[in-house]
């Protein structure tokens, strides 16, 4: 057992870190928040493609790099450090992986190289009007009519829906209120009957409500098997969740670094506030949580890469990383005193994202339910 990064991983990390330092400044993030229609930058997306990142998990035979989830975690943690706004997670992790796992040979041959080349961007249309993230709660209906499907319903929190080319939609085709009876469809974003509404968030990012009104999609939009959407989606979703944890852990580490730096410099009562034990206690507690979340995330990625049953680990990683990022953004901001809440202060970019990250992709309660299913309802998992 050895948890040092491999040379390749260390190199990837360094390249990513340098790229982000150069191209993803606070000014850039603010510009994406305020001025950009899309909320991300197409130029940067092209650069991601040139570096091969967009195909990091895509098999080599489809032009990708065929790297592991653990490698991807190393990369995306650097994006997270810089809270880089991009559709990377849902395009290059989630969509690329579902297509690679359950797509037909034709779909793989056509769609994967497009992802690698940066030609197609995917958005994930899953969440509906539910506090949880359960497949049972999906109601958007896809009715088969001839060799087409007709979609009616609403999706919420679809990130980058306006900039995307394709929506990865989880739709109800069978039994209601069940994990079964869901189907995955790849829907052209420009199909007639689709309309979007921006959902304003604390992060000032680009989340949308996407309404489907008699949207007709061809039979070829079917990804995987009819009514088996959840089985197809869940393993890839776990990978995306772990990648998201890496992203939020990265953001947490960065914010913690700013707070630590400030604690060394800000003087009150004749000494740096970082010399006061209460402040030290906060910072020490948070760094432990961050290390824990980070290790748990990498450990889960490792288990997934080995093809092992990792649902419990993923759930623990997500529940813990979520709580950690929420806590770290909140308490680190307090270390900045009043300045921590001023619009001009750059750390507020992190504060505005912390809670939202915590609640995204299934909040803590949802994942705690998954942990409970794994440790209570399945055979006792021997914690190793």
């Amino acid at each position: 057992m050895d948890i040092k990064l491999t040379d390749d991983q260390a190199q990837l990390q360094e390249i990513a870190s340098k790229f982000m330092d150069k191209h993803c400044s606070f000014d850039f993030v603010r510009k994406m928040e305020k001025e950009s229609d899309l909320g991300f930058c197409r130029d940067m997306w092209r650069q991601f493609a040139e570096m091969g990142w967009l195909g990091i998990m895509v098999p080599e035979k489809h032009d990708g790099m065929g790297m592991s989830l653990l490698d991807t975690v190393v990369l995306i943690r650097e994006l997270g450090r810089h809270i880089c706004p991009s559709p990377f997670l849902f395009t290059s992790v989630l969509a690329a992986d579902v297509i690679a796992q359950v797509g037909s040979p034709e779909q793989q041959a056509e769609l994967l190289p497009q992802i690698v080349a940066g030609e197609k961007i995917y958005a994930f249309a899953y969440q509906e009007y539910s506090r949880f993230f359960r497949p049972e709660h999906i109601k958007l209906e896809a009715k088969k009519s001839g060799d087409k499907y007709v979609l009616n319903g609403s999706k919420l929190f679809v990130e980058f829906a306006d900039g995307a080319d394709t929506l990865l939609v989880a739709a109800r085709t069978g039994e209601a209120n069940s994990q079964d009876g869901l189907t995955l469809l790849l829907v052209d974003r420009n199909s007639a009957g689709i309309s979007t509404k921006h959902m304003p968030t604390m992060s000032r990012d680009r989340h949308y409500q996407v309404d489907f009104s008699n949207v007709e999609v061809p039979g070829s939009a079917l990804l995987g098997e009819l009514d088996k959407g959840w089985e197809a989606l869940e393993p890839s979703l776990h990978k995306a969740v772990i990648a998201f944890c890496a992203y939020t852990n990265g953001a947490g580490f960065e914010m913690h670094g700013y707070a630590t730096q400030y604690a060394r410099e800000r003087v009150q009562f004749g000494r740096p506030i970082g010399q006061m034990q209460t402040i030290q206690g906060y910072l020490a507690q948070m760094i432990m949580e961050l290390y824990g979340a980070d290790m748990l995330t990498m450990f889960s990625a490792f288990q997934i890469d080995k093809g092992r049953h990792a649902r419990g680990y993923v759930a623990k990683a997500k529940a813990f990383s979520a709580d950690t990022v929420g806590h770290v953004m909140d308490v680190s901001s307090q270390i900045f005193g009043g300045m921590g809440y001023m619009e001009e202060q750059d750390t507020t970019l992190y504060l505005r994202r912390g809670k939202q990250y915590q609640l995204a992709l299934g909040g803590t309660e949802y994942w705690e339910d998954v942990i409970a299913e794994e440790i209570i309802d399945r055979e006792p998992v021997v914690l190793t």
């Binding site: 057992m1 020490a284 507690q285 290390y291 748990l296 450990f299 813990f320 942990i371 409970a372 914690l383």
Partner: protein, 397 residues
């Protein structure tokens, strides 16, 4: 990055498990704070396999280290099954002797420790020197060929059955407080040394007994001074880095967690099944994640230990482990409703064992460099923040 154990690590773990299966009896199980003939015998059997001296040179009775993580695997398996772990004798005492003591002292004591002959007490704490060990007052006056000691220590575990004391005493009252302490090895039978028992709130046979130790003109031969005079504080601090890590393997916490989950799954109070209650399910789930984080921080510490003393990681291990131990004991009792308060008897889950654990759980947050002290170490050594107890250190511009 490889989170899996290697084949040789797995083979060694199997060997340890097999040993535990054969040698472990109920009499061996128990707390790390007490020792019984059965526990001593069990450790001696490990000593015969060379497991106590792993990584120390053979001339001192050591044995080759099969691979860097062997000692950790051994301790984790022992801890998992409630057996005595390779704790302070090797982690604190033998390590320090090996690094700082004279050749003569090494030859005298190291083989003895590795054969598990003679038990040890760590004799540091005084009424006015607990967390702040540097301010200990009990004097050892230099009389030339010996030192003379009058004073007392308290909370000294194992003193009532030990053969030797690993003792910190003040040798220079005029030097700055951290620079006037020395370590001695003291024979428990030395004239002038006496004991008085102290009881903890744990039950008899668990963590019940500890001791006050008194010295009246006790003479310590000069040859029993460890390393250099007045360097004792630094020896203690370095050893604590090892001890935080060695004594607090996370495995026993995982074992307790698994035990409570099994109880929870089967619990049935006149038809009311806890497993159907979403609130406690989530509370257990939340704890599962926190326990898993403990195993992760431990992995981080042991992987680092392959290259250097994992001081910061050990402090994290200590702080997280003690915090989780305390939270877990609370949760376990909460899950049981009023039955959590039972200290034995018919309706008491685990015969009151978890109540015992709860009673002493807070102590782990305080002992051996507690949670707060560990956080101070993290703040200073990892985050580079100035010492909270020192003079103001203004930032350089």
């Amino acid at each position: 990055m490889d989170f899996d154990w290697s084949p040789e690590e797995i083979a060694f773990r199997e060997e340890v498990r097999e040993f535990i299966r054969t040698e472990m009896t109920d009499a061996v199980k128990g707390s790390i704070f007490i020792d019984t003939p059965a526990r001593v015998e069990f450790v001696t059997k490990m000593a015969r396999r060379g497991w106590l001296g792993m990584g120390f040179p053979e001339q001192y009775g050591g044995s080759p280290n099969p691979f860097p993580l062997a000692q950790f695997i051994l301790n984790a398996e022992l801890d998992r099954s409630g057996a005595p772990i390779i704790g302070k004798n090797v982690g604190t005492i033998a390590s320090t002797i090996y690094h700082v003591a004279s050749e003569e002292m090494k030859m005298e004591f190291l083989p003895m420790i590795f054969r598990n002959e003679g038990q040890w007490a760590i004799t540091y704490t005084e009424p006015n020197a607990g967390t702040d060990l540097g301010s200990l007052q009990c004097r050892a006056i230099d009389m030339g060929d010996h030192f003379e000691v009058t004073g007392m220590k308290h909370y000294i575990t194992s003193a009532h059955f030990c053969r030797w004391h690993w003792m910190a005493l003040r040798t220079d009252p005029d030097a700055p407080k951290h620079k006037g302490i020395s370590i001695f090895i003291v024979d428990h039978d030395t004239p002038g040394l006496s004991l008085s028992p102290m009881s903890t709130i744990g039950r008899e046979g668990t963590t019940h007994r500890t001791n006050q130790v008194f010295f009246d003109k006790m003479k310590i031969p000069r040859s029993r001074l460890v390393g250099e005079v007045n360097k004792g504080f630094y020896y203690m601090m370095e050893a604590l880095d090892y001890e935080r890590f060695a004594i607090l393997s996370f495995a026993s916490r995982v074992r307790r967690y698994t035990k409570i989950v099994n109880w929870y799954k089967n619990a049935d109070f006149n038809g009311e099944r806890p497993i159907n209650d979403p609130y406690t399910r989530r509370a257990l789930a939340r704890m599962a994640a926190r326990v898993e984080v403990g195993t992760m921080l431990e992995r981080m510490a042991i992987c680092k230990a392959q290259y250097e003393v994992p001081a910061v990681e050990a402090a994290m291990n200590k702080a997280w482990g003690a915090t989780i131990g305390d939270e877990f004991a609370q949760l376990a009792l909460d899950l049981m409703g009023p039955f959590g308060g039972l200290w034995g008897g018919e309706h008491s889950p685990f015969g009151g064992g978890l109540a015992d654990e709860h009673l002493m759980a807070g102590h782990a947050r305080v002992a051996a460099g507690g949670v707060d002290t560990s956080k101070a170490i993290i703040a200073r050594r990892l985050l580079g923040l100035p010492n909270a107890l020192g003079k103001p250190e203004l930032p350089q511009r």
